[in-house]
Assembly symmetry: C2
Homo-oligomer: 455 residues x 2
């Protein structure tokens, strides 16, 4: 048999049991919180029409879409003509969860409630060059509220996101923070600083890179994007003046932006949002930060990003985008959402040792098999323990204990149950703690109590 | 804006919230049971190398694989040459969960325990012609034990599968049944009946269609596959003689197959399996059925299929396949598994009304908003209820109750919470039952008790 390549495809990953259990641990918390906040789950197909996907993520994005080839006669006809990337494929793999949401919001308008609060946790696909922490298939955990312009929407989204971090073990006020800004605050400040109106969008893309390339880098990039040096200097001076503390920043912004209609409205929206959050789960973590830019051009209102203490880069972010969802419906539909950076969160939890020692779902004990004659009794005991709700694995072959203990050890199962002729006669069970090596003899009822208490 | 096609792609489905919650209800039960039996979760990438996929599912299967196109320079080079289906694509979408398991078992041999008990619940993709109940993306729920030839493996798999059906509400002994046979029992019977040895595999494919095309159809198909008419008649007479009752059938088979080494071993394996199951969850549902064929050629031992009372066709099936898993490892690795027909199970649950009335995850109440001045008090109440673990939705806009009640109704939320100036003053909350129309006034503590009791 020729040895075939059994690696997963470049940029993709096999999740072995321990990986899946860790991912499930996080996803279960995310789902529980999102549901507590009244969000409903949505799932969409892995493949979408190429028409649906193209032109939504910019030119660069279009190049990162995995295209699925036509088949049979359709393919043959295209191969006979002048075959190209677009004629050979008519569908592609999901690139994000926002475009599918927009398609769903348009298709099921009559069925969906006027306000649609949905969460969606599914893999997305990007034909990016694989690198450390950059994958071609990775999960997004999105929650969005579609259909209302009220800032209660932002408050709900931020509180839900904050509660996820609390439950993951980021308990202290300084363990994570939400940077909060408003797209029109930034545009207003640029106008005050003298950045030409038609360069505002472009400048936002440059400012968004502050974390990655530093202030010097941003200056260069702004110059490269034709922003006048004087405007850059004014903008920097202006941002340097910003005071600390949410109320102080908002007061300061109100004054600076008093001449800008959009800027003033933005400040009052932020004030409203902060007041709605009041003492909510996100309040201690909320920092109004006029520097926050968020690169995507589709944001139209408040924007936010979450940072975990001691880790560069964001662990999630989002904001209001009132023009995007309507693209398929043919009418504007307001929306605001948050996307949790699952892969990054998993990394941070690992580095901070925040995963529980025992992950839910692992077996509580292994039933070993002494010899063929004792198998029936062992299987009966297993049935009884499982009927009590316990998770019990059974080794499928009788024989040497050493082999069976090794198996338990490899699987992270701490207790091995031993049932030989003498135990069967005395109606007891041996319980070996594979961590300490201790071994005890218990009655069945004692065993039930013991394992239940370990659960 | 031109109206774009917002349907999901042909053969795929959008799962709106109620659909997702119903699927989750089933999948949660499946996972809980599989974990109780000591199985571990595995997840593999959506895309696999074309090399990995091709040649594993027969010629017909190869045609049903969705191929993902090469990109950039790689694609250009192929387009300049003599482009074909195979040169333009180098990867494809997962077609089942067994080939990925085989790849994983080979790749991580050093890390995985000697016996690998894994379950896997992921979508698979087949470019089949879409039809009622046949999809191009659908979920498989597989559980397999890799690495042991013991019949305890089959017993574990069958008991776990049976417990899933019990928990889904198929409680009676006659609500579902497992048909059980052995690949070598069938081959042995064919030999006795005079079916030429080299036609056995082909005849199995024909017999497998009994449910679909009836005995007359099977006869024709066997003739078409060159099985002599006399052998067909003998086989029919033979199978007609089979008595009722597992012990009686096994005794009868033992006698009929006494001259066949493979047949005799098969009967003793089935006896062993039945004894291991003893009083286990699957025992009351187990029927040894010499007719059962299972179409796939890779089975090498016991085979089984589950049928629900009143429904044609199987709701899942599986068996032992000792030669398949090793195809990537370069050495034989025994295995046995079961695949639950999730889409069919969902259909049966729906037709039999077995879904719970309230699906877990739906909000327990909607906080309505009376007016802008009462919003802060309403949001504080929501925080308090959520802190108690309740799932509470909040309508994001104050105003007419009718609109807010309609929203609750659309989402299937039964209770609307009302908090106007008088309730705020009296520290009470109005609770409207949208099903009956009744409205009551409760204190906050009473409300907490009430909603908790409804959970």
């Amino acid at each position: 048999m020729p040895k075939t390549n059994t690696n997963p495809l470049s940029g993709t990953r096999d999740f072995l049991p321990i990986d899946v259990l860790r991912r499930k641990y996080v996803v279960d918390i995310v789902e529980r919180v999102y549901q507590k906040y009244g969000f409903e789950p949505l799932e969409t197909p892995t493949m979408e029409r190429l028409d649906t996907l193209l032109g939504k993520y910019g030119e660069e994005g279009d190049q990162l879409i995995f295209r699925v080839m036509k088949r049979g006669d359709k393919l043959s006809r295209m191969l006979e003509g002048d075959p190209s990337e677009n004629t050979l494929a008519d569908s592609g793999l999901r690139y994000d969860l926002t475009v599918p949401l927009a398609r769903v919001a348009a298709e099921y308008q009559a069925q969906l409630p006027r306000v649609f609060k949905r969460y969606q946790i599914q893999p997305v696909f990007r034909a990016d060059r694989p690198a450390k922490g950059r994958f071609r298939e990775f999960f997004q955990c999105d929650l969005d509220i579609v259909g209302s312009t009220s800032q209660i929407v932002e408050a709900e989204v931020l509180n839900a996101a904050a509660e996820v971090f609390h439950l993951l073990g980021f308990e202290g006020a300084s363990d994570f923070r939400f940077r909060l800004n408003h797209r029109w605050v930034l545009r207003g400040l640029m106008a005050v600083a003298g950045v030409p109106h038609d360069l505002e969008e472009s400048a936002i893309v440059a400012i968004d890179k502050l974390d990655k390339i530093g202030i010097e880098g941003v200056r260069k990039e702004l110059l490269g994007r034709s922003v006048p040096a004087s405007a850059i200097e004014s903008l920097e001076q202006l941002l340097d003046e910003a005071p600390e503390g949410n109320d102080a920043v908002l007061d300061w912004l109100e004054e600076k932006l008093s001449d800008s209609e959009g800027g003033s409205r933005a400040v009052s929206e932020l004030r409203q949002l902060v007041s709605y959050i009041d003492n909510g789960p996100s309040s201690a973590h909320l920092f109004v930060d006029p520097y926050l830019a968020r690169g995507l051009s589709y944001y139209t209102g408040p924007i936010f990003e979450v940072e975990c203490a001691g880790f560069r880069g964001s662990a999630g972010g989002g904001g209001r985008y009132d023009d995007l969802i309507g693209m398929f419906a043919g009418r504007a539909i307001p929306a605001c959402g948050f996307s949790l950076g699952l892969e990054r969160v998993l990394l941070i939890l690992e580095e901070r040792g925040l995963f529980p020692e025992r992950l839910s779902g692992q077996p509580q004990a292994l039933m070993t098999l002494f010899a063929e004659e004792t198998v029936a009794a062992s299987l009966r005991l297993v049935q009884r323990l499982r009927a009590a709700g316990l998770r019990i694995d059974v080794y499928p072959e009788s024989g040497k204990y050493a082999k069976q203990f090794k198996y338990a050890d490899q699987r992270g199962i701490r207790y091995a149950l031993l049932l030989g002729p003498s135990e069967i006669e005395q109606k007891t069970v041996g319980v070996k703690d594979l961590k300490t090596g201790d071994q005890r003899t218990l009655t069945i009822d004692e065993l039930l109590d013991f394992l239940t208490s370990q659960a």
